[in-house]
Every structure is written in C-alpha cells, then in structure tokens.
Symmetry: C2
Subunit: 371 residues, 2 copies
C-alpha cells in the first residue's frame, strides 16, 4: 500500500516545458517539430497558404514529399531497389494488403504469433491464404519469443511475417529472424526509426506513423521492387502496391498534412544524430523504467529479458489484491480508459491529458518523441 501512495499526481514537464504524454499512439511529437509546424501553420515558406490547403500536385507539396522520402532513405540507408510509399489506412490496412499482393489463395504464409498485433495480422491474413503459425507464446501469455530451435517454418511459404514490437505485450524482436530467401515482412509500427536497420533483409517493412513518425492517418511502406506488380485480381484498386509505386503515393489525394509533419520529424531525427542517437535514447529511457520496476518489489514486468521492449513497458502488481484500488486511483488521475485486462494491467495512467502524470504505465511510449 505504501507504493500506491508513491504514485506522483503532480504535473510533470519535459525539458521543453511541455506536459509529458506517454500515450502509445497517437503519440507525443518532438517539441521542435510542433513549434515549427505551428509557426508556419498559416503560411508555409512565404506562400501565403497552409500546407493543409496545398494541392498535392503543386510544386511546393511535391518538394515536401520528395524531401521526406529522401530523408527516410538517408536515415534508414534504404537500398535503391526498394520503393517508399506514404499511404492511408494505417498499419491495419497492410494486414490485408500484404497477403493480397504477395501471396495467392492456395499459398501458405508463415506468421510469428507474439502478441496482440501479430494476432490481428494473422487473423486478417487467414481471409486470404493458409496461415502457418511458425511460433507462438500464446499459452504463456505472450511473454517471450519462442527459441529458434522450436520454429516451424514452412518449406514454401510465400512470405514470413513478424511484428517488430508488440505494443501491448511489450515483446520486441532484438534481431531480424533468419528465414533464408523467403520474403520477410515486418510490422514495425512501434519500433521503426528507433535503431539502425538492415533494410536489405526485408521484403516489406511497414509502420503506421502515429507512434514514431508523425500524426495518425499515414502508413509508411518500404517494399522491395520485385514484390510489386503481383497483386491478386479482384482486390480494391487502392490495395495494389503497383499503382502507389507508379504514382508516387498519389493514386488519389494523399494525407498531405500528416505527410508534411512526418517530414519534419524525419528532419528532426537527422538533427538528433540519426538512428544511433534514437537507439541510445530508447535504451536509456526503457532501462530507467525496467530498473524502477525490477527494484520496486511492487511492480512486475514478466517479459523474458531477452525480448523486453524498448518502446512500451507493461507491468503487473506483485500483490494482485491491490489491483482494484490501483485501477480506481488510476481512474481518478487519468482521463484515459483504465481497465484490468488479461495478464497485463492495461492502465493508461499516463494521464497527461488532465495535467496529471503517473510515471509508470503499460503504454509508455519511450521513443524519442518524449524527449
């Protein structure tokens, strides 16, 4: 009970004087990006109009789009034989686009089942092809990534899929699975741009923007060119990567303002020192939280240490009888939904929305956005 009383309910400020917001996404954006966007909100670079009001076909917006792609290519060192797409629909749209584009109905595809998001992805894929679960830790409550020796990879999978970081379960792949020559697909919505990455190991990398890249409403897709142009018949036109690649993500009006903010974030990442600096930041912040939890005697993080997430740190209470009071106090200091769900306490106690910050939360989004 002593520990419960130690939860801070005072407003916490960032070095830039902003309220801390540990929401997992839409997540906090860098203060410098927000200040710049606000200053040029009504008049972008002397044009007299807002980026929000610009035609996506005008030279100004095209320069914004090209710069953002160029910066992303530089930051991730993306090889030339990959296309970069800025699309709508969120990462969830990719759960269907991937099988619709790089598998046929008769094909088997391999999925690593490591938590909530890979579970959603493989259930969506089952609508379109045969899904082989290569490895799962479901019975154990998704607390680890099964050992390589236990993986059951198909002989002729159309692709292998894994979730780079499981935002709810706090399980992160710290190395890229070796799947031979089969195209490897990854959802890195919650950990893209948080450390250097060898893009050449992948067939498709995608990430919803609202955690590490920019505002909601944008999903970034990095796709090897030989995987484009093989979409199935009878899918929605917008679900074919080929059109987006050909039209430079402008088959229809793109989410221009979100794209522009993402461009500002990419510039900020470069200024910060790129992905090496982002990785240091993620390790420093998550390390601080894991040390606090592990030394508390009150909180428990039961994810296998080898795959603990650097992005989000779920916890349970050592004394389960305290849950109800803990949730009740959480509700009192936060406008976010507080609920007890499964093995992890889904307490969104970040609560910066009403000016209150609780320092430990299961959805702490620990990437560079909260500086």
């Amino acid at each position: 009970m002593v520990m419960l009383n130690n939860i801070s309910t005072a407003v916490q400020y960032t070095p830039a004087g902003r309220v801390y917001n540990f929401g997992a996404g839409p997540a906090m954006l860098p203060a410098k990006v927000m200040q710049r966007a606000q200053s040029e909100f009504m008049d972008w670079h002397g044009t007299g109009i807002s980026v929000m009001e610009m035609s996506h076909r005008c030279a100004e917006f095209i320069s914004i789009a090209e710069q953002s792609e160029s910066d992303l290519r530089e930051i991730l060192n993306i090889p030339r034989n990959y296309k970069v797409l800025f699309l709508q629909g969120g990462a969830t749209s990719q759960f269907a686009m991937v099988p619709m584009n790089i598998s046929q109905a008769k094909d088997t595809v391999d999925y690593f089942h490591t938590g909530h998001w890979s579970d959603k992805a493989l259930k969506e894929a089952r609508r379109f092809c045969k899904v082989n679960v290569s490895a799962t830790d479901e019975k154990n409550g998704f607390r680890s990534i099964p050992k390589v020796a236990t993986w059951n990879l198909s002989k002729n999978a159309a692709y292998v899929y894994y979730t780079g970081n499981e935002t709810i379960h706090g399980v992160e792949f710290h190395s890229i699975p070796d799947v031979g020559k089969v195209p490897l697909v990854t959802d890195m919505t919650s950990n893209l741009l948080t450390r250097p990455l060898d893009v050449s190991r992948f067939g498709i990398i995608f990430a919803g923007a609202q955690k590490n890249i920019g505002p909601a409403g944008l999903v970034v897709v990095i796709i090897r060119e030989d995987l484009i142009g093989k979409a199935r018949q009878g899918i929605p036109g917008l679900y074919d990567y080929a059109g987006h690649a050909r039209e430079k993500s402008m088959v229809n009006t793109p989410p221009t303002y979100s794209w522009y903010i993402a461009g500002l974030v990419l510039q900020w990442i470069k200024e910060q020192g790129g992905l090496v600096a982002m990785e240091e930041k993620a390790l420093r912040k998550s390390g601080k939280l894991y040390r606090a939890i592990d030394n508390s005697g009150f909180y428990i993080n039961s994810v296998d240490v080898s795959c603990r997430s650097r992005m989000n740190v779920p916890f349970t209470l050592a004394d389960e009888s305290l849950y109800d009071e803990f949730v009740a106090r959480g509700k009192a200091v936060s406008t976010m939904p507080c609920r007890k769900k499964g093995w992890t306490t889904s307490l969104y106690l970040c609560g910066s929305l009403n000016g209150v910050t609780v320092n430990i939360t299961d959805s702490s989004h620990l990437f560079g956005m909260t500086e």
Copy 2:
C-alpha cells in the same frame, strides 16, 4: 490577344487578408478555422498537448469526435436510421467499398457516367459486379446530364450510383435522381455541405473531406443502417462498413487531426447560417464567374446551363490558336501544373502558391472555403 493581357498577375487577398487559393482540393479552409487551429495547436483546451498527440481513445478526443458527428447530423438533418462514419482512404476507397458492401458478384449495378469521377468509380465497380451505364454524355465530352427519358435503369439493380458534382468537367446534379426504391449512392466529395440535402433519399452518401469539409486523409460516409452488415466474404477487414459502424470509426487509429479540423469547419458552417447560407455563397460566387465567362467573348464554358457546377467552372478559349500562349503565360504566373488536356483547358492558374492569382481557372473551388 487583348484579353490575355487583362489577366491579373497581382496578388489578391481575401477579406481576412489571406492569399486567394482556388485549388480544387486540398482546398482553402476558412480563415477562422485556421486561426483557431493554430492558436490551440500546441495546447488543446488547457490539456497541455496537441490534438495531434492525443490518443483516439481518450475522453478529450472522443468528445471532439462526438461533437463533429452531432454537428454534421444537425447541419444535414441526418435521420436517426443513418450511421455517420469518419474513415481513411479518400473517396476512391469508397469506389470499391460500395460494391463490396451492398452488391454481390452476380448483381447488376447502375452508374450515371457524367465525367472523370463517375468514370473512375464505374471502372472500379466493374472489378466486383456487372455495371450498367444508365446514362452517359461521354460522346459529347461530358457537357450535360442526359435527359431523364433516356435513362436506362436496370430492373433489379443492387444500387444506383451518381457523382453529385464532377470536379473536372464542371457538371453538377441540381436535383436528386428518382430511382424508386433502389438504394441510391452518391459521391458528393465536391458538393456536400453546399446546399440543403434530403438525406433520406439516399442509401449511401460519401465525400472526401479535402474540398468542403477539412484536410485530406478523411472521407465522410453517411449510410442507411439496413445497408450495413451485408459485406461480401474475402474483402479486407477495413472495407466492411459493419466494423466501422460498430466501433464508431475506431476499428483502428483514425486520422484524428483531420477529423478535428473537420469538426471546426462544421462549427464554422453552423455559425455562417448552415447550408442555406452555404448555398447562397456558392451561387453568388459561381454566378460571378459564369457571367464573366459568358460576357467575355474570349472564354467559353460549354456545360449545359441546367447542370453547370456551382463548385468548379471549366473553360475553353473561343480562339483555340491562343491556347499555347495562354498556357505559357499560365505557367509563368503559377507553380501549379499547367497543361492542355482534352476539351477542357486544365490550367491551374489559381497560383496563389507563388503569390499570384489569376481570377478565372478551371479548378476554382467556389465553395465557402474561399470566403
């Protein structure tokens, strides 16, 4: 040649002191909306964070979402048996969602073919069912809506589809086609909220936001409840209206910031006097342009007067030999792409982007956004 010299190349300002921007979309937003959004960009209502950084699950964002739906329902007087959805993917996503949700592969669906956008919509629908072209003015270059007596409506169409306003061809339906009891579907991307509308006449109304409602990256769908829950098997999860209706447009992270700006625009429309005021404004502005064109002896608008658009006013030159010089001068005063394409001169001479406004353009978007 005299007329060419009369094209103004001086910067033109709105009463609020903003540069005029006649771009068809993403279009100009009301100055009051932009000023308010800028003022609360970093700190929404004392929360200390931006709407862009808010979780879509928090009480604050849910209040924004609910208010915007409530305002849209009030403005359009939407009956209770209709759902209002705020989705991603643009109007183009609806070109596939409509047939995937309210028709089967064996069904025939009826399309009015009145210009560029209905052409795109019916081509997409052909992937999913049999399309009967109920009426077309293609041979005449899309200058009119064929007379009712010539319509070829199917006996058992799953639905009838028309484009409320053709943004490129400048053809607008000024009354709702009578199609009996067959569900009527309309793409009102460029004319929703520009006059009062009897929503009860429709099965589905949809509109990309970037012309009359808010920023790009959002599409508003108004759908009669009995049409929900009939989606085909094997479609992407996000293409089923049922999930979006059940989850209040939060199946996955919605485009929160675009939704918020749309909410501000809806409040502004109410303050302006609702759709009666919007209609007066559209008639006043388009009337001014048509009078200028018709009296010029230099420009020609050849759309049948009965279906001239109040939203966009395409034109040709009476003397075709002047096209090349006209295009060249257009390029000189605008950063927008200038090209000669088909029967309409696709000159984006609005050019506010480089501080230059030419008063007559084929993509003048004449709705309330340019006050």
